[in-house]
């Protein structure tokens, strides 16, 4: 499976979002029922991932973090190889060595995933410097959370990217949570984009639960970067509908807040809009969902059939 490119039809976006949702449901079930290691799910954040990734071209690169499944799947990653990686199998994207937390897929341009919060921010400037110095056209999209925006690297990365005019699209998925701490407990300001503007880059804040809005904002951002050579900051306001890392009972979450955001589930929102506007019918919707679950089923079968790596792999890949 290769890089997935989008022409922007709503069905494409919805399809990608359902693939992510179905993938996460499987990952949750595998953890709960089969003792597969837990994962950080992107449930609730599908629109942000798909909206941004759908705006990227084949040359563009992506850096992501611990909550990467949406970015990977939207980019065309094979759910089978992702599940194999989560399960520590040989056919995972990283031979099972990464597990769920640092999946990179170089062929898809998803490079240098770091689960150190802030890690992706520190590496993105270097990837963008390569693009700039080697005359490559692709924009470097760096996904990170509101938590990462508290790390010093946020400041250092944005300052350098602005100063050196590096082609970075910073995408902050502000999902209101930083593991078990609410964003409100970590910063006075309500939005992160305002800070980014202080470094001298253009910024936008978008409803992260509306994939069409995110896509439009991301297209504008990418265009701006290609035209100006300067970085751009896009904040997608969204919500982490499940816990931080499976399993997580979310006992610490304010039920009203959670309910309010559940009512804004990005898949339901998009479906309702499309149905209301007659842009899709119920049968097509049904088929699209079924296809997503079918693909995840097939992926899961692939993953369980994949063997564990040989013990000798313990010490390979350390050095070139």
């Amino acid at each position: 499976m290769g890089i997935r490119l989008y022409d922007g039809r709503a069905e494409e976006l919805l399809q990608a979002m359902w693939l992510i949702r179905a993938y996460e449901e499987r990952a949750v079930a595998l953890q709960a029922e089969q003792g597969v290691p837990g994962t950080c799910t992107a449930v609730g954040q599908e629109a942000a991932a798909v909206g941004v990734v759908s705006a990227l071209g084949a040359d563009d690169l992506i850096l992501t973090n611990h909550r990467s499944s949406g970015h990977l799947l939207a980019r065309g990653a094979d759910p089978g190889r992702m599940l194999a990686e989560v399960m520590g199998r040989r056919d995972g994207y990283c031979k099972g060595k990464s597990g769920s937390l640092h999946i990179s897929a170089k062929d898809l341009g998803v490079v240098l995933t770091s689960t150190i919060v802030g890690g992706e921010l520190a590496l993105a400037t270097g990837v963008a410097l390569s693009q700039q110095m080697l005359g490559r056209r692709g924009v470097v999209t760096c996904f990170f959370g509101d938590g990462a925006a508290c790390e010093g690297r946020f400041h250092e990365s944005l300052n350098l990217a602005a100063l050196w005019r590096l082609p970075v699209l910073y995408v902050c998925e502000n999902n209101q949570w930083q593991a078990f701490v609410h964003r409100r407990e970590t910063m006075l300001a309500d939005n992160i984009a305002a800070r980014a503007a202080g470094y001298g880059m253009d910024t936008a804040v978008v409803d992260g639960n509306d994939p069409e809005a995110v896509r439009a904002a991301a297209l504008e951002a990418v265009e701006s970067i290609r035209a100006s050579g300067r970085p751009y900051f896009l904040e997608a306001r969204t919500y982490r509908l499940r816990g931080h890392f499976e399993p997580d009972d979310q006992a610490y979450v304010d039920p009203d807040e959670l309910a309010a955001w559940r009512a804004r589930d990005p898949l339901a929102l998009l479906e309702a809009r499309l149905l209301a506007a007659g842009r899709i019918d119920a049968d097509a919707l049904q088929a699209l969902r079924a296809e997503a679950y079918r693909r995840i089923d097939a992926g899961w079968r692939f993953a369980v059939d994949s063997p564990y790596p040989a013990t000798a792999e313990l010490t390979t890949d350390v050095y070139a």
Binding site: P37, G96, E185, Y252, Y308, V318
Partner: protein, 326 residues
């Protein structure tokens, strides 16, 4: 005596020390979320969630420690300490000395470490040797619930900065903890098993590994002593040397990577100071010089196993030549 898990032992130590000394406070990403009972008992000013920024969490602790508080910071997983090295090493470790003794730094930094959760090398890296190598710091890495409680309490009362590592494979194991005030001093090893022929020296999760190896060895008529270092710095040199002087042989075991690990230090020390008593080389059984993989079977292979420890001891018993061909 009551039987509690290591996690409960840590909770008890925190609660007791916060009750014991109003200067003690706890900070970290999620500590107030995860330890509601402490928040309720001591109020939100003394149990604080922080922004996601290890450097300033540690820096705040260092500054607070020098000026009247006794902070305990939970930095979550050991690799995240990489963001706090300046504060821990250059400030907490050096500013007492560089200021000519003007300041004390009574603080504890807790971090989880070690294989067991399949989370990979950015969450699992045994870094205790770094902090032992850096001046001015102390390093504790217990293996039993009782020691987790008693050493954490001692660490909180200690006037110096202490790195307190929690091996995640031990976190939910349980053990007997004495009732009432229970303090275990830093810097003292514990003999977990007596033996005559060889000393197995270890700490944290590989202490039980050594105990199992000792069982294997006993079945072969080899009497192995098991020494739990508990404290990496100060290191209980006297206990190490006394044991090896008796047995004449030693295997040092830990999960951390071999090169420049604690095992190197212990082996070098024994060579220097118990040379005359040694009947065979000191061997090391350690994790490899590789990052920790996430894949469960690989992760298990990363951890020293009882059979490997027993095999090393057997080679020592078979004579120096066999031992040297490792």
């Amino acid at each position: 005596m009551t039987r509690i898990t290591v996690m409960d032992a840590i909770d008890q130590a925190l609660a007791e020390e916060m009750a014991h000394d109003p200067a003690v406070l706890l900070m970290g990403e999620g500590v107030a979320t995860k330890r509601r009972a402490l928040v309720e008992a001591f109020g939100p000013a003394r149990v604080r969630n922080t922004p996601l920024a290890e450097g300033i969490i540690a820096g705040t602790a260092v500054g607070a420690a020098a000026t009247g508080l006794r902070p305990v910071v939970d930095l979550l997983f050991a690799p995240f300490l990489c963001y706090a090295m300046d504060e821990l090493v250059n400030s907490a470790g050096k500013l007492r000395y560089l200021s000519g003794g003007q300041f004390d730094f009574p603080l504890v930094a807790i971090a989880m470490t070690g294989a067991g959760w399949g989370v990979g090398a950015q969450h699992n890296h045994n870094l205790e040797a770094w902090f032992a190598h850096a001046p001015g710091l102390k390093v504790a890495m217990p293996s039993t619930a009782a020691d987790f409680k008693g050493m954490l309490k001692s660490a909180i009362r200690d006037p110096d900065p202490v790195l307190f590592f929690v091996d995640i494979a031990l976190a939910y194991t349980d053990g007997e903890v004495p009732a009432g005030e229970h303090l275990v001093p830093l810097g003292r090893a514990a003999r977990r098993r007596e033996g005559r022929d060889v000393t197995l020296i270890s700490y944290a999760k590989t202490v039980p590994v050594c105990e199992q190896a000792a069982e294997l060895l006993a079945a072969q008529g080899i009497s192995a002593e098991v020494l739990d270092l508990r404290s990496i710095k100060p290191l209980d040199e006297a206990a190490i040397l006394a044991s090896v002087r008796r047995t004449g042989r030693a295997v040092v075991v830990h999960e951390a990577s071999r090169t420049c690990g604690v095992g190197a230090e212990v082996a070098a020390l024994i060579g220097e100071h118990a040379w005359d008593a040694l009947r065979a080389p000191v061997l090391r059984v350690t994790g490899p010089d590789a990052p920790a993989p996430a894949s469960p079977p690989l992760e298990q292979a990363y951890v020293p196993q009882p059979a490997a420890v027993a095999a090393a001891a057997q080679r020592l018993m078979a004579g120096a030549e066999a031992a040297a061909c490792v």
